[in-house]
Point group: C2
Chain length 365, copies 2
Amino acid sequence: MIDCDVHNGWDSARVLLPYLDRSFRDYLDRGELPGGRDSFPHGHRAWLHPEGYMRYDTLPPSGGAPATDYAYMCEQLLDRYDLDYAILLGEEGMEVSTLANPYYASALARAHNDWVLDTWAPLDDRLRISITVAPQDPEGAAAEIRRVGGHPSVSQVVVTSGSQRPYGDPFFHPMWEAASEMRLPIAAHLGGQGGVNANPTGTGPPTFYWETHAMLCETGMGHLASVLAHGVFERYPHTRLVLVECGVAWLPAVLWRLDADYTALRKETPWLKRLPSEYAHEFVRVTTQPLERPRNPDALWTALDDIGGRDMLMFASDYPHWDFDDPFTTRFPAEWRDAVLDGNARALYRLPAARPREEAAGAGA
Amino acid sequence: MIDCDVHNGWDSARVLLPYLDRSFRDYLDRGELPGGRDSFPHGHRAWLHPEGYMRYDTLPPSGGAPATDYAYMCEQLLDRYDLDYAILLGEEGMEVSTLANPYYASALARAHNDWVLDTWAPLDDRLRISITVAPQDPEGAAAEIRRVGGHPSVSQVVVTSGSQRPYGDPFFHPMWEAASEMRLPIAAHLGGQGGVNANPTGTGPPTFYWETHAMLCETGMGHLASVLAHGVFERYPHTRLVLVECGVAWLPAVLWRLDADYTALRKETPWLKRLPSEYAHEFVRVTTQPLERPRNPDALWTALDDIGGRDMLMFASDYPHWDFDDPFTTRFPAEWRDAVLDGNARALYRLPAARPREEAAGAGA
C-alpha cells in the first residue's frame, strides 16, 4: 500500500531557523506571529511586522505582555505625561471583525467587553473604555452597543478599519442607529486586515509590512467617503466617526476630491444637504498618530487648516505600539495645541471641563 | 410537465424606464452602459457614471463618438489651446486589463495598437501614442512593448490603475524590464475597475459613482508604494511610472508616510538605497487632472513643494471626458507653469525643445 497524504510535524516552527537566510531568520525569530494556544481567535493578517509591533520597553518588569500591568502603564504613560484621560481601545479584541463566523465574533466581542469593564474600568477614573463589536454582525453589534453602551466608563464603540465593505453601507446601519441612540461615536481603528476582510489597498494585496503600514491610510479614506456619501449623519445625527491611527495628512486631499465630485454629481445622493467636507468638520474626528512629518511643517498644517483641521484632530500616542507618538516631542502649531491635545476629545467624549492647573512642563511644547 | 427555468426577454432595457423612479430613470436613460454589439470587450465596472463620462459638447458635428474626428479634436483642443503635443491614451483599449483571459486581452491590445498606429499616428506630428498592454499577461505585455515600442510615434506604455495586484509585484517585472529596455515610461491611467481587478478602495466595494471617483486616487497610491518598495527603478532604471488622472494632492501625504515607514523598517527592503520620496522625485510623474481645488490654493502648493512636486507634475486635460481641466482656467503658481505645462513632459517623453514663440494668450495664466 501507498499512503499519498501523510503530514510530518514539528514541535516549533523554530526548527526552520537554521535553514533561513539571515534577514528572514530575523522575521521568524523576532517578528509578529499568529499566536499559540492562548491567543485570541482572529483571522491573522498576511502582513507580519518584522519585529513584532510592540515597543520592547513596555514589557512590564513584573512579567506579562505590554500594557497588561496598570501600575507600569501609569508610570510609562498616565503619570509620566500627566494625562487627564486615556481612551482605551483594547488590543486584539477589535480583530473579531476578521472572522467568518459573525456569531462567534459577536460572542468574543461581548466577552471582551465584560472583561474590560470588570477588570480595567474600575482601576482609574482616567481610563475611558471603547467597547468592541463585530461589524459583520450588524444586529449583534447594535444589541451589544445597547447592552453595555450606557456603562459610565464607556466613551465609544470601536471596530477595525479593515472590513468587508465600507461602513457607510446600509448593511451597517443598525450599528450606527444603536450608536446614535446611545450617543456614542464609532471609532474605526487601523487593523483588521486579513481573514474575511478586504485587501487594504485599491490595487489588491501589497507586499511588505512598511509598504502596507503606510498604505493603511486607504482604509480610513474609504470609510470616510462611504459614511459621508450614504448620509449616515443625516440619518443618525447623535453618533460620530473617529478614524484612529490612519494618519491625518491625506484628509485635506480626500475632502477636496469628495467635495468636487459631490458637487458635480450630487444627484446621486439627494439626501445630502451640505458638502462632504462640511459633514466631516462636524461629525468626523481623526487621531493624530502616526503624525506625518514633512520637511517643512507648514506643508502639513496649511493643508489641514484649509478643511478646518484644528477642530477635527485629537492627540493619540498608540501606547504601547512600536510607532508611539510621544506627547513631549510631537509638535503641533501653538494655536492648535489646546484643541488637539485636549479640547476636541473632551468635547467629543463629553468629559468634564479641565481643572485649572500648572502648565505641564514641556507637554506638547 | 413543469419547466422550472425559462427566460423571458426584452428587445431593449428601455422597457424598464416607465417602471423606474425619476432619479434612476435618469441613470438608465442617460447614464453609462456596458455597451452593445460593437462595443469593446472588457469587464465593465460596477460604478456607472449617472450621465455617461463624456462632455456632451465633444460629439462631432459630423456624427460619431467623442474624440473620433481628428479635425474636430484640432478645433476643440490642439489648435484652440495651441498645444505643442498631445499624449493620446486611447479610450477603452486599456480596459483589457479587466478580462479574465490574458491571451484574449493581449490579442485585443495588439489589435488596438496596430489600429492606433495605422490611423492616428500619421495624422499629425503633435499626436504622441501610448501603446496599451494587458498587464495580467506580463510576458505578452513585454513582447508587445518590444514589438511596437520602437515606433517613432510611441511615447509610453499605458495600463489601467485598476489591477489584480500592485504593479511593483515581481509578477509584473517582465513588463517593466521591456519598458526599460525600450526607454519607455509606463502610465497607470485611472480605470480598469471591474472584471477580475481589485475593488478600488482598501475597504471593499464603495457605492456611488462620485464617491468611487473621488476614491480612485487609492489605486495610484497603491501602485506608487508598490513600485517604490519593490525597487523597480533600481532594477529597471530606464523606465518611469506616470500616474494619470489619479489627482495630485494626496502625493505629499503618501510620500511622507512611505518615508517614515521605510526609515523605521528598511531592513525589509535592503535593495533600496534612497528614501521612497527620492525615488519618486526622479522616477515618478503625475498628471494634474482632476486638479484638486482647496479654498486656499497655498494649501495645495505648499504641500506639493515639500516633496519637489514642481518637477513631478505634468498638465493633462482628459479631453473629451466630463471632468476636463481647461488649460485656460486651471491655475498653477507662476513659478510652476513652465515645468508643469511643458518642461516636465517634454523631458520625460524626450520631445524636441520648444521653439521660441509669442506668449500664448492667456494659456495657464
